[in-house]
């Protein structure tokens, strides 16, 4: 074990290698590692954010769904009400119409009855006349009536 000038040579080597590491090895590696760390941190943050947003979206969609359901229920109720109204209205209208029709028919029937009565009345007169004629024809006795006819002739 003897210390000699190798010492100086080794110190020079050591200094060279420190310089290489300091200038060419450590800074790029440190940068790459720090960048990667930042990227990973960003990625994790983004994932967290995405998760949060997804939760929010789920909540929003649930809200929207609930709202839509409420609205549709309301619409259905309204529609039902309206339908009922329409049915009621139709019923009313139908009744009015029916009444009208019935009244019309009644009036027509009355008219018809009146006309029939009229006709009957006319026919009754005729029949009465015909009956009377028949009766009269049977009752007429030329001899019995000759006096009257003679009298009539005399009046003329």
């Amino acid at each position: 074990m003897n210390i000699n000038a190798t010492l100086i040579g080794q110190a020079i080597w050591f200094a060279i290698f420190i310089w290489i590491t300091m200038k060419y090895v450590w800074p790029p590696l440190q940068k790459a590692m720090a960048d990667r760390q930042a990227q990973i941190a960003d990625g994790l943050a983004a994932a967290e954010r995405g998760k949060h947003e997804q939760e929010l979206a789920a909540k929003r969609s649930a809200d929207a769904l609930r709202e839509a359901k409420e609205k549709s229920a309301e619409l259905v109720a309204q529609a039902e009400k309206r339908a009922q109204q329409i049915v009621e209205e139709a019923k009313g209208n139908a009744k009015v119409e029916a009444d009208k029709v019935v009244a019309g028919a009644k009036a027509e029937i009355d008219q018809e009855v009146e006309r029939a009565k009229q006709q009957l009345r006319e026919r009754v007169a005729e029949l009465a006349v015909a009956g009377a004629e028949k009766i009269l024809r049977k009752e007429i006795n030329a001899s019995a009536h000759a006096d009257m006819l003679v009298a009539l002739k005399q009046d003329l």
């Binding site: 000699n4 190798t6 080597w13 060419y24 090895v25 450590w26 790459a32």
Partner: protein, 267 residues
Amino acid sequence: MSAEGGTLTTSGYIQHHLTNLAVCSDAAKDATGHCHGFWTFHLDTLLVSGILGLVVFGLMAMVASKATSGVPGNLQSFIEMVVGMVDQQVKDTFHGKSALVTPLAITIFVWVFVMNAMDLIPVDFLPVTAAAVGVDYLKVVPTTDPNLTFAMALTVFVITLFMGLKIKGFGHFMHEVFAVPFGLKLAPINLLFRIVEEIARPISLSLRLFGNMYAGEMVFILIALLGIWQLPLALPWALFHILIITLQAFVFMMLTIVYMSMAAESH
């Protein structure tokens, strides 16, 4: 395998494995051709550590230049895992702001780890290969050379000093040197304590790594001497050694971070 060409003795084998490939001027050589004195260079330590460092940091720089913040490839993931682990340690321990601490810790951990990992290559493999191409000595684990560990520890020491001065300012730094822990009245004692502390740090830092790796290498060499019995022993020791090389790299890195944080924070 002795370069001396003599008979292969046990101590000669061990000695050979523990000798660095040294180069120096002819004037510094002794009669047997071995180098002495300060101006000697351990070529194997310099080359192995340098090539390993260039390969591994070159690879890391290449991957880093193409690093994507999207889905990373296998290699990028692996490097990011290592670098991220080191960065986490720095973040846990060092609370100041400095562009230097993390790269320094990464450099230490990765470099020391790959140099220690040379220990897992069978002990004779590279030296014999080197001998075949005419290189007499080759000590393949650079961290078993105290020159390397001292160089690293001293570099860390210097960086720590400069960082302390830069972050605290000269006045505060000097005040801390003279007034902690006993107050200004006992300034000489404080200074002495500080000097002991500052000297003890790089020595313990470097000798810990050197001692662990040297001992580990020694055990590998001793196991290699057992003939056929090395087969059941080398594997468990290598497996155990994976733990040691990682742990030593981690300890060196961790202590460096701690020293830096102590330099940056007020006592």
